[in-house]
């Protein structure tokens, strides 16, 4: 995978893989709060959008390089996550999820209807274009696609490592307990609100960095795309289909769904608009029915079946004797 650009220099293929890579990254950032902590948020695109808008507007207005702008975007997303998490985390289950959906829509509608925020021209639904500076690595811009390819895979590696460190830490144990049974976790000493908030803040910060990558790669930021509920839902879908209890679950889910979605959109997008979403839905239903813990649980399922057959066989042999 790392050496792919050496063998396939077709810009479309590289673009496709980068798009898929970005979805993998975003699904993994979502999984920090959605999978590790079991808090299903439907507003993840809000944090992606924060990063995209923040770094782009700081670049346009103050010439700040997006390499630093992404940190500002990340911090903005953390502040927003505090404002979202503190009220929403007092709600449980579906109520929490719905509240994140509602807040995300509020943000999108406000941005769509806002031309200016202080010195920053947000330009409402039209969105903003990233000023083109040619080949300017210091400004997170490259003429070819190959540098973005390597950057996104490094970002995926980084978020995987962060997720792994969280999951294997004491804090990760608390998050797993919360995901299983929040009340029992609280009754056994876990500060549930603090743990959930930390997960959300980390997730938001990393998602915002993904938003900066989005802006620099696609060269435009508009609320219809980057703040869309559909975008949040796709991110959730990738993680759920792959398996939220596994660090590699979002990777598997995205590798299965996203390339397919891109190809369908590209080839049939004109005549069958939204067909990829129908197919996503069908895949989701199939996963819920046959792999309720996600496709990444397939090895465990097979091991379980084999063990069951062995036990039955042993019981049968024992009975005969």
């Amino acid at each position: 995978m790392v050496l792919l650009p050496l063998f396939d220099s077709d810009p479309y293929h590289i673009h496709l893989i980068i798009s898929v890579g970005l979805m993998i990254y975003l699904a993994m950032t979502w999984n920090i709060v959605g999978g590790l902590a079991g808090q299903v948020s439907f507003g993840h695109a809000t944090f992606v959008g924060m990063g995209a808008y923040a770094s782009t507007l700081l670049f346009i207005n103050y010439g700040l390089t997006p390499w630093l702008g992404m940190i500002a975007g990340g911090l903005l997303a953390v502040v927003v996550s505090l404002m979202v998490g503190l009220p929403c985390f007092r709600l449980r289950g579906a109520f929490f999820s719905l509240s994140t959906l509602a807040l995300a829509e509020v943000v999108r509608i406000v941005v769509v209807n806002t031309e200016r925020i202080g010195p920053f021209e947000v330009r409402g639904a039209a969105g903003i274009l990233v000023p083109l500076k040619g080949d300017a690595p210091g400004l997170f811009q490259f003429n070819g696609k190959v540098p973005y390819y390597y950057i996104i895979w490094m970002m995926i590696g980084a978020v995987y490592y962060i997720s792994y460190r969280i999951k294997t830490s004491r804090y990760g144990l608390f998050l797993s307990a919360i995901a299983d049974d929040e009340e029992a976790a609280r009754a056994n000493g876990v500060n549930v609100l603090k743990a959930k908030m930390l997960a959300l803040m980390v997730s938001a910060f990393l998602a915002a960095i993904g938003g900066t990558f989005y802006a620099q790669f696609y060269r435009s930021v508009d609320p219809v795309n980057v703040l869309a509920v559909g975008f949040s839902m796709e991110i959730v879908l990738m993680a759920v289909v792959g398996g939220t209890r596994f660090l590699h679950g979002p990777i598997i889910g995205t590798l299965i769904l996203a390339p397919f979605g891109e190809v369908v959109r590209a080839s049939l997008g004109g005549s069958f608009f939204g067909l990829h979403k129908i197919i996503y839905g069908m895949v989701l239903v199939a996963v819920i029915l046959f792999f309720p813990n996600g496709i990444a649980s397939l090895p465990d399922l097979i091991r379980g079946r084999v063990k069951e057959k062995q036990n039955l066989h042993a019981a049968g042999v024992g009975a005969e004797e």
């Binding site: 004491r170 000493g189 549930v192």
Partner: protein, 240 residues
């Protein structure tokens, strides 16, 4: 050790607990009994911070812990089990216990303490099995292991014997006795199995329709007319 004054808990117009006063001394084994719907689990939930109370005070070891959140109550030294057993199903037995230990003491000595607790309750060999693979008796013991690893001062058991067969019951009684002795625990136990709670308890409190109607030794409670009426109704032939 535990002082409860005037606890009232309402759910809308429904008064579930009314003016509960109780004292529990260090080292006591206090049974809490009452008919279904008397408010026993609600009282547990209010004392352990799972539910807010409407009025009243709870003092534990001299500190006012009224309306403290559940995790703070646990860290203060009160551990509980649940009426419907609630292990962390996706975690191994070891990790179940580690959650409680690490919440209170951090990482130092965690693995040793977890294994010690599991071995004490006969779950040593199942340390790496997910809690979902345990039977009911084992799950109840896992909850006890999770409670004991944090070295509580007060252990609150909510129908810990429910659903156990005769030999599992004897096993559980033995574990509770040994646990109480080894950790010098104070215990409050809700139980419906009368011969068990009568044999274990130093003192029994009886709850009926949200009110404390009796407080005495097992012998006194067994002979208490109001307690008998609460369980069997007005027209009872419970003289025997």
């Amino acid at each position: 050790m535990l002082k409860v004054r005037g606890i009232t808990k309402r759910f809308g117009g429904l008064r579930v607990l009314e003016g509960i006063d109780m004292d529990v001394s260090a080292g006591e084994f206090v049974g809490l009994i009452g008919p279904n719907g008397a408010g026993k689990t609600t009282l547990f939930n209010v004392l352990t911070g799972m539910l807010p109370l409407n009025s009243g005070d709870v003092t534990f070891l001299g500190r006012n812990i009224t309306n403290w959140p559940g995790n703070r109550v646990f860290l203060a030294g009160i551990a509980r089990t649940f009426q419907v057993v609630r292990p962390f199903y996706s975690l191994s037995c070891r990790d179940n216990v580690l959650v409680a230990y690490k919440a209170k003491f951090g990482n130092a000595g965690a693995d040793e303490a977890a294994m010690e607790a599991l071995e004490f309750l006969g779950l040593g060999k199942k340390a790496d099995k997910p809690a979902s693979e345990l039977n009911l008796a084992e799950k109840r013991k896992l909850e006890l292991a999770r409670a004991m690893v944090a070295k509580p001062k007060l252990l609150m058991l909510d129908e810990v014997m429910a659903g156990l067969n005769a030999s599992e019951l004897d096993d559980m009684i033995d574990h509770i006795r040994r646990l109480k002795q080894s950790l010098a625990l104070t215990v409050i136990a809700v139980e419906h199995i009368m011969h068990v709670i009568m044999s274990l308890s130093d003192r029994i409190l009886v709850l009926n329709q949200g009110k404390l109607i009796a407080d005495g030794t097992p012998k006194q409670i067994a002979a208490n007319e109001e307690v008998i009426r609460a369980y069997l109704g007005e027209d009872s032939n419970a003289a025997s």
